[in-house]
C-alpha cells in the first residue's frame, strides 16, 4: 500500500444536491469516487494524483433504474450487479448485461458502477461499446441544472471527455428500440474472468427478407476511445450475408480501427481478432437473426 491515508480527504455529503454544490464551490478540487474499483487501485499503487475526494457511492438519486415507455434511465451509480439483475436490462439491453457479467469478478461487479466505467474512460472499458450501439444519451448534472448529450460525443480523446469539472453523470438513457434486434457481444481477454479486454465487440443487427436492414457495431480496445464502425455498417446495410460480404466487412473494420501494441497484446492480434469478431457476428446474425 503505497499511499498515506493521512494525506487524503474523503467526504460523503450523502445526497446529490450537496455533492454538486461542493463541486460548484470548488471546481477541480474534489474527485468523485463511486465504488472505488478503479481509483482505489491507483491509491494503493501510490499513483492517485487527487488528494481530496467526494464519495458518490450509493447516492439514492444515482442508483436507480427508471423505466419509461420509450427509454430506461440507468443511474450512473448503478453497479454492474444492479445491471445484471434488472429485468429490462436483461431482456432489452443484453449487450449491457453481458458486459456487466464479464467485468471483474463478483466482488468488483458489486461495487463498480456504470458511471465510473464511463468516466474512467479506459479504451478497454467493458460497457462502453454497448452504450454506443444502443445510442445512449447521458444526463449530466451540476449545480446549474442538467443537460443531455448523445453518448457518442462524450469521449473527445484518450481520457478526455465532454464533462465540466463541476459536473457528474446522473443517468445513462437507453432508448427501448432494440428488443427485436439480434444482439452479439464478445470479449477477447487473457483469461475467461478478471481480464482487461484485448478486443471486445458489442453489435446489433436486424434482417428483413434475408438482407441486413440495420446493423450497429462497436469495438473496445482498438482505439483511444470506444468506436462505432460507421463505414463498415454502411457497407453492410441492404446486403445479404455471404462470404464476400464478410471479407469486405473485415477489411472495412480494419481500416476504421487503430489498435496498438501494449503490455497486454499486439496491434496485429487486435486487428485480426476485431475482424474475426465482426465476421463471427455477421455469421451468427445470418444463422440466428430473425426479421422483425
Amino acid at each position: 500500500m503505497r499511499s498515506d491515508p493521512a494525506e487524503f480527504d474523503l467526504v460523503a455529503p450523502g445526497n446529490l444536491y450537496a455533492v454538486v454544490a461542493l463541486l460548484a464551490d470548488e471546481p477541480g478540487v474534489w474527485l468523485p469516487v463511486a465504488g472505488g474499483t478503479d481509483l482505489m487501485v491507483l491509491f494503493a499503487a501510490g499513483t492517485l494524483a487527487a488528494r481530496r475526494l467526494v464519495s458518490i457511492w450509493n447516492l439514492p438519486e444515482l442508483r436507480q433504474i427508471e423505466v419509461f415507455a420509450h427509454e430506461i434511465r440507468v443511474g450512473a451509480g448503478c453497479t454492474y450487479t444492479d445491471l445484471r439483475e434488472h429485468v429490462i436490462v436483461r431482456q432489452e439491453f443484453s449487450l449491457l448485461a453481458s458486459a456487466a457479467a464479464w467485468t471483474g469478478g463478483i466482488a468488483n461487479q458489486n461495487r463498480g458502477t456504470l458511471g465510473g466505467n464511463i468516466v474512467n474512460a479506459s479504451p478497454a472499458a467493458d460497457s462502453l461499446p454497448a452504450l454506443l450501439v444502443y445510442e445512449a444519451e447521458l444526463i449530466l448534472v451540476s449545480a446549474c441544472g442538467e443537460r443531455r448529450i448523445p453518448y457518442r460525443i462524450f469521449h473527445t480523446g484518450y481520457k478526455k471527455m465532454e464533462l465540466r469539472s463541476d459536473e457528474l453523470i446522473r443517468s445513462v438513457c437507453l432508448p427501448r428500440r432494440f428488443a427485436n434486434y439480434f444482439p452479439y457481444a464478445r470479449k477477447a481477454g487473457a483469461r475467461n474472468a478478471q481480464a482487461i479486454s484485448k478486443v471486445c465487440i458489442a453489435a446489433l443487427g436486424r434482417l428483413a427478407g434475408g438482407a441486413i436492414e440495420d446493423v450497429r457495431i462497436a469495438l473496445g480496445s482498438v482505439a483511444p476511445v470506444p468506436l462505432r464502425l460507421p463505414e463498415t455498417e454502411r457497407l453492410l446495410i441492404g446486403k445479404t450475408v455471404a462470404p464476400s460480404l464478410l471479407e469486405a466487412a473485415r477489411k472495412a473494420a480494419c481500416t476504421e480501427i487503430q489498435p496498438i501494441d501494449d503490455i497486454r497484446s499486439t496491434a496485429r492480434y487486435r486487428a485480426a481478432v476485431a475482424a474475426n469478431l465482426v465476421a463471427e457476428f455477421l455469421g451468427k446474425l445470418h444463422a440466428e437473426g430473425r426479421s422483425p
Partner: protein
C-alpha cells in the same frame, strides 16, 4: 480414555482432518502480517533502478524527515555481506556495483508503515551504467562478462554409452530446439518477515518460509552470530512452491539488520509489485535435442543440450541445473546419450526454486521432441513412447538400474482409456474440418525423482524427533514446513500409524530452530518420503525405549501407552526419540561423472490433455485433463489429489497464461492484473488417478508427489495444440498472439523452430 478400549487405530491411507485446517477455515491462522508485537517498526528496501552499474552517489531528498528513520547500508553488516547458500556471490546489500534491477541497496525503518513508500522514492541513486546482458544467447556470446570468467555458473556432463558411434546407424536424425519462459510462483501471501533482537538471546526471526535452517545459516553468516544466538520460526505460510526456499534468507537478513540497528522489532512485508519484480522466478530454458532414431522407432542415442538462465547470482542454479539435466532424457531408454547442462548469468533478479526445479523445463523439451520424432517416422505419439519406455532392470541416462516394477505401458493404456484419447481424436479429425474451433489431444509421459539427488540426502543428514508427554500425547519435531501441501497432517498420520495411536493424539511442533532438529529443507518432494520415513523410525525408537524399560508390550492399547509415558516421565524425565537419515546401502553415485543412482525412488506418470483452439480469438483452452501417476503409497487421498490438481493448474498456467514480460531485466507486468494465472472459470475438470507400487525407501511405501504434476501438463497441452492445428509450437508460454502469428503465417507442418512474436 477407556482402559478396555482395544480399538486398532489407523490413519495412513485415510483422509483425516488437516491438522491446522480448522484455524484456516475460521480465519484464526496467523500468517506473518497478522502478527504484531510491542514497539514494532516497519522496514522497506531501496532497490536498483538499473540492470547493471556502479553506484556513484546516494542522496536523501529534503522532503523527508530522515531523523525519524533508521537507515541501514552494507557498512552496517556485522558479519559477511552475502546471502549464504551455495556460492558467496550474492550480496545482502549492494555496495559498489549492482547487477540486476531491483537489487537491494539500502534499508529504511520507521514506526509508521505509511511513511515508507515516499521515503523510498526520496532516495536518489546515481549510477555509472555498465553494459547489461538479457538473454541466454547474449550471455553465451561473452562479449560482455558479467559473472566469473565466462558468465557460466555451472555445467554438467552426463555421458552414457558411445554417442559418437550411433549417428552412422541412424535411419533418422531428428533435431530441434525448445524454449520455456520464466514463471512467477505467485503464492497468494507475499514474502514477509519479523525480526527482533534480544541482548541475551540473540536474533529471532518469524516468517513465511520453507526452510528454517537455511535462514538460520544465512543469519549466522550475515550477523556473525553463533548457532545458539539465532532463532528462526516459521509462521503459517500462505503458499510457497519453491519461491520461499532461498529468498527468505535475503528478507530475513534485511529485517535482522534493521532490528539490530534500530533496537526495535522490525516487520518487512512486500506488496505484490515488489514481490513479483524483486524475488526469484522459474529459470527460463533452452533445450536442444539431436536424436538418432531407427526406422522402427527406437531411440539409438542422442545429444541433449540443456541451458538455463540463472539471473545475476548463483543462488540455487547449480541444483536446478542438476535436476533438469538428470531428467532431460525422460522416462525412456537411451542406449547412448550425451547431456550437457549449463546455467548462465544475465542481469535479471536471480532465478530460483519453483516446483519441479529444472525438470518441467527439460521434460517439456523431451515430450515435445517425442511427438516430433513420431511425426518424422510416421508413428503415433502413443506408439513412439511404447517403443522407448524404460522397463524394470534397464538403466536411465545416469545408468541407474530401474528396480521398481513400473509398467509404463500399462500407465499409458490406462491414461488413454480414462481420457477417451482414441475416440476423441477420431471425432475431432472430422469435426475440425468445419467447426469454428479446432480440438486436439496430447500425451506426456514422465518421471520425477524424489528427494535430493545422489549423495544429497546423505550430506543433509536429516534428523527427526518425536517426544511423548506424560499424558500420552505425542509431538513430532521436524523443521519441515507446512505451506498447504499437508506436511503437518501426513507426518502426524505416519507417527500415529506407527505408534498405533489415534491421529488426534499426535501434534506437530511449529518449526522453530530452538525446538526442532534439522530435518532438511521442505523441498525436492522429500518430506513425505524421506522425512516421513524418519518419523516412522523415530516412532519405532520411541516404542522400543518404552518396551526396553518393560513399560510397554509389543501390542498395547491407547490407555496402556499413556500410562507407560506417564511412568517414564515420572522415573526418567522427558521422553524423546530421534532418528537420523542413513543412506540405503548399495546406493552408488559419482558426483564427478554424474552417474549412478540419482534418486532412491521415482514417481511415474502419464498425463493426457484435451484442448480447444478458438479460431476467432486464437485462445487455447484445456477442456479436459487426465492425470494418472504411480506414487508408491497414497498416504492421504484428499491431500494427494489436491496436490496433483493444484500442480496441474499451475502447469496449465506455465503453458498457456503466465508470461513474465521482461524489459532490460525488469519485469514489466508485476501485478495480478497483468500477470495472468488461471481463475476458476479457466480450468478444465482435472481428473486425478493413482497407482501404488510401494517404495521401500519411503514411509509406508510413499514416494514424493509435490513437484511431479508440474512436469507433464505443459508438453501434453502443446502436443494437443499441435494435434489440433498441425503447427509445431516449441515455446511456452503459448499465448493467443503466438497462435495467431503462426496460424496466419500458414506454415507447413513439420517445420523446424519458428520465430514467434513475443514468444520469448
Amino acid at each position: 480414555m477407556e482402559s478396555t478400549d482395544l480399538r486398532e487405530y489407523h490413519s495412513v491411507g485415510m483422509s483425516v482432518p488437516r491438522k491446522e485446517g480448522r484455524d484456516k477455515v475460521t480465519g484464526a491462522a496467523r500468517y506473518v502480517d497478522d502478527i504484531s508485537m510491542p514497539g514494532i517498526v516497519y522496514g522497506a528496501t531501496v532497490r536498483s533502478k538499473v540492470a547493471r552499474g556502479r553506484i556513484k552517489s546516494i542522496r536523501f531528498g529534503n522532503e523527508v524527515a530522515w531523523d525519524e528513520f533508521v537507515i541501514v547500508t552494507a557498512k552496517d553488516i556485522p558479519g559477511k555481506n552475502h546471502v549464504a547458500l551455495i556460492a558467496d556471490d550474492q550480496p545482502c546489500l549492494a555496495e559498489n556495483i549492482v547487477n540486476h534491477p531491483e537489487e537491494p541497496i539500502l534499508l529504511l525503518a520507521h514506526p509508521d508503515r505509511h511513511a515508507l513508500p515516499k521515503a523510498v522514492e526520496a532516495v536518489s541513486i546515481e549510477y555509472d551504467p555498465l553494459p547489461a546482458i538479457h538473454s541466454i544467447e547474449e550471455s553465451e556470446r561473452c562479449s560482455e562478462i558479467i559473472w566469473g570468467s565466462d558468465n557460466t555458473f555451472k555445467t554438467f556432463l552426463i555421458e552414457k554409452g558411445d554417442v559418437d558411434a550411433i549417428w552412422n546407424n541412424a535411419d533418422y536424425i531428428v533435431e530441434a530446439e525448445y524454449f520455456t519462459g520464466a514463471q512467477e510462483q505467485l503464492y497468494i501471501e507475499n514474502n514477509g518477515i519479523i525480526a527482533a533482537v534480544d541482548a541475551g538471546l540473540g536474533i529471532t526471526v518469524w516468517g513465511s518460509l520453507q526452510c528454517p535452517y537455511y535462514v538460520h545459516k544465512a543469519l549466522m553468516t550475515l550477523c556473525a552470530l553463533p548457532e545458539d544466538k539465532v532463532r528462526v520460526v516459521q509462521t503459517e505460510t500462505g503458499g510457497a512452491f519453491g519461491g520461499k526456499e532461498e529468498y527468505p534468507s535475503m528478507i530475513a537478513g534485511h529485517a535482522a539488520l534493521l532490528a539490530i540497528k534500530s533496537g526495535h522489532p522490525v516487520k518487512i512485508v512486500y506488496d505484490r509489485l515488489e514481490d513479483m519484480t524483486a524475488t526469484t522466478k522459474r529459470h527460463p530454458s533452452r533445450t536442444r535435442h539431436r536424436t538418432a532414431v531407427s526406422k522402427d522407432g527406437k531411440i539409438l542415442g542422442g545429444e541433449i543440450e540443456f541451458t538455463i538462465d540463472g539471473g545475476a547470482y548463483t543462488t540455487l542454479s547449480p541444483v536446478v541445473l542438476s535436476r533438469g539435466t538428470i531428467h532431460a532424457g525422460g522416462p525412456y531408454y537411451w542406449p547412448a546419450v550425451r547431456i550437457r547442462g549449463k546455467a548462465v548469468a544475465t542481469n535479471a533478479p536471480p532465478n530460483g526454486a519453483f516446483r519441479g526445479f529444472g525438470a518441467p523445463q527439460s521434460l517439456f523439451a523431451m515430450e515435445r521432441h517425442m511427438d516430433r520424432i513420431a511425426r518424422v517416422l510416421g508413428l503415433s505419439p502413443v506408439e513412439i513412447r511404447r517403443r522407448n519406455f524404460l522397463q524394470p532392470e534397464q538403466t536411465t541416462t545416469t545408468e541407474q538400474t530401474i528396480k521398481e516394477e513400473i509398467n509404463l505401458n500399462h500407465l499409458l493404456d490406462r491414461a488413454l482409456e480414462l481420457s477417451g484419447y482414441e475416440s476423441k481424436r477420431a471425432r475431432f479429425a472430422i469435426e475440425n474440418e468445419s467447426a469454428g474451433s479446432k480440438k486436439g489431444m496430447g500425451i506426456a509421459a514422465f518421471l520425477h525423482g524424489a528427494g535430493f539427488t545422489g549423495s544429497g540426502e546423505r550430506y543433509l543428514g536429516s534428523v527427526v524427533g518425536i517426544e511423548a508427554h506424560a499424558d500420552g500425547r505425542v509431538r513430532v519435531l521436524v523443521s519441515s514446513a507446512e505451506f498447504g501441501q499437508g506436511t503437518n497432517t501426513v507426518l502426524c498420520q505416519i507417527a500415529a500409524e506407527t505408534l498405533g495411536l489415534p491421529y488426534e493424539d499426535i501434534e506437530i511442533a511449529q518449526p522453530d530452530t530452538r525446538e526442532v532438529p534439522n530435518s532438511g529443507p521442505t523441498v525436492a518432494s522429500r518430506t513425505a518420503m524421506i522425512v516421513g520415513k524418519l518419523v516412522q523410525s523415530a516412532a519405532v525408537g520411541l516404542k522400543q525405549t518404552l518396551s526396553g524399560c518393560a513399560l510397554l508390550g509389543d501390542t498395547y492399547t491407547r490407555a496402556q501407552f499413556s500410562t507407560a509415558c506417564g511412568k517414564y516421565a515420572a522415573a526418567r524425565g522427558p521422553l524423546k526419540s530421534y532418528a537420523r537419515y542413513e543412506s540405503p546401502s548399495g546406493i552408488f553415485w559419482d558426483d564427478e561423472k554424474y552417474r549412478g543412482e540419482a534418486y532412491s525412488a521415482f514417481a511415474w506418470a502419464v498425463y493426457v490433455a484435451e484442448v480447444e483452439v478458438d479460431l476467432t480469438t486464437y485462445s487455447v483452452s484445456v477442456k479436459d485433463f487426465v492425470a494418472l501417476q504411480e506414487i508408491g503409497k497414497v498416504l492421504h487421498p484428499v491431500l494427494a489429489t489436491g496436490q496433483i490438481a493444484g500442480g496441474v493448474a499451475q502447469a496449465i498456467g506455465f503453458a498457456l497464461y503466465e508470461k513474465v514480460n521482461q524489459q532490460n531485466g525488469r519485469m514489466q507486468n508485476g501485478q495480478m492484473t497483468n500477470y495472468i494465472m488461471p481463475t476458476s472459470v479457466d480450468l478444465p475438470p482435472i481428473r486425478v488417478f493413482f497407482e501404488e507400487i510401494g517404495s521401500a525407501h519411503g514411509a509406508y511405501g510413499a514416494k514424493g508427489i509435490g513437484e511431479l504434476p508440474m512436469d507433464g501438463p505443459a508438453p501434453a497441452i502443446v502436443n494437443a495444440v499441435e494435434d489440433a492445428t498441425s503447427i509445431p509450437f516449441n515455446s511456452i508460454p503459448l499465448l493467443p498472439e503466438d497462435v495467431f502469428e503462426a496460424m496466419t503465417a500458414r506454415l507447413e507442418p513439420g517445420n523446424a523452430a519458428i520465430p514467434l512474436a513475443g514468444a520469448r
